[in-house]
Symmetry: C2
Subunit: 197 residues, 2 copies
């Protein structure tokens, strides 16, 4: 049943052509850049132009704009979750937690669609983002647990509150944007409120 040479695809499907793989990656990268610069209302044609392909190619790999957006979100959230995991082995749990929080907010101040991605990850609207969102929440929850055990964060709040604060801070950063000093001081207020009394 198994052919001698051609490496079989994981599932029943055939292995895709090399240029198809290349173009898929190109489109995803371009979509991330375009949505970060212009928001999620940017047209699919702009993504195609940026990727150097035709619109047909974009829609072949991502049959719907919604699917494309989801793929971008999953990529961003996945990278975040990885960063959070890396911070799990830091020596100071409190510093690690706050550093991650600040990192996310800084990121949101630059990338335009990112706050929306976070917000969706918080409420799990789509089925596809659910998995990655859960991964992020698990990682963030671990950071929070360690910080609370170390006495760096108050114990009377949980992951939902943290996520709400994180989404809010990110969205505020995206809209206020410019002044980094204001952003830093506003973030300091939240951090002070999070510390154990």
């Amino acid at each position: 049943m198994s052919p001698p040479k051609p490496a079989a695809a994981p599932d029943g499907g055939r292995r895709p052509r090399a240029d198809a793989l290349r173009n898929r990656a190109r489109v995803l990268e371009a979509a991330e850049a375009v949505f970060a610069e212009q928001g999620t209302t940017a047209s699919t044609e702009q993504v195609a132009r940026r990727a150097g392909v035709g619109v047909g190619t974009v829609f072949r790999h991502f049959p719907t704009k919604e699917v494309l957006l989801e793929a971008v979100f999953v990529a961003q959230l996945g990278r975040l979750a990885t960063e959070a995991d890396a911070l799990m082995s830091a020596e100071d749990p409190g510093a690690a937690f706050f550093a991650f929080f600040a990192r996310v907010v800084d990121h949101a101040a630059t990338k335009n669609a990112f706050a929306a991605a976070l917000a969706e990850a918080g409420v799990d609207v789509r089925a596809t983002t659910a998995e990655t969102g859960q991964e992020l929440r698990r990682a963030l929850g671990s950071l929070l647990d360690r910080a609370q055990e170390a006495g760096a964060v108050r114990r009377d709040i949980g992951l939902p509150e943290i996520l709400t604060l994180l989404v809010g801070a990110s969205q505020a950063a995206e809209h206020v944007g410019g002044d980094a000093d204001v952003r830093a001081r506003a973030l300091a207020v939240i951090f002070d409120g999070l510390r154990a009394p």
Copy 2:
């Protein structure tokens, strides 16, 4: 100085007809409701239907969708500023400040376009909203000053930081929406961070 019968319009313009005034108010009210329910992407036709008028009427009174949105924002921000002014005479300045903050966030959790209005008022994108935005900022600034003088709020932050936090909390409330308990606890964190040490 006052003419016998026809009340003169404020400026050089003529006094508009009674039905025109009535329709303008109807449209504004409908727009506020529709945008609150469906967000700012709702179509102008929906606003017209809700108001019981034709699209032509909507565009006669508000020549652009942007202008219509601005008018809605100005109305909401104006009401907010009035509420803030009313709280200026409260006996407990700290309680007044925090109550207003919470009031705004609660409002944002319900009305859909409201957080966007706040965000714009914070950065003054449009010329028209600038005036009302400034009014709101002035009122909020007064509340903040009194609260700081009473020792209820730390002194090392200013109005820009408060506005950033307010916008962030409002936007988070709009997206998280549902769980009022989570919202309350997240807000409590910000409040604790704002209190004087």
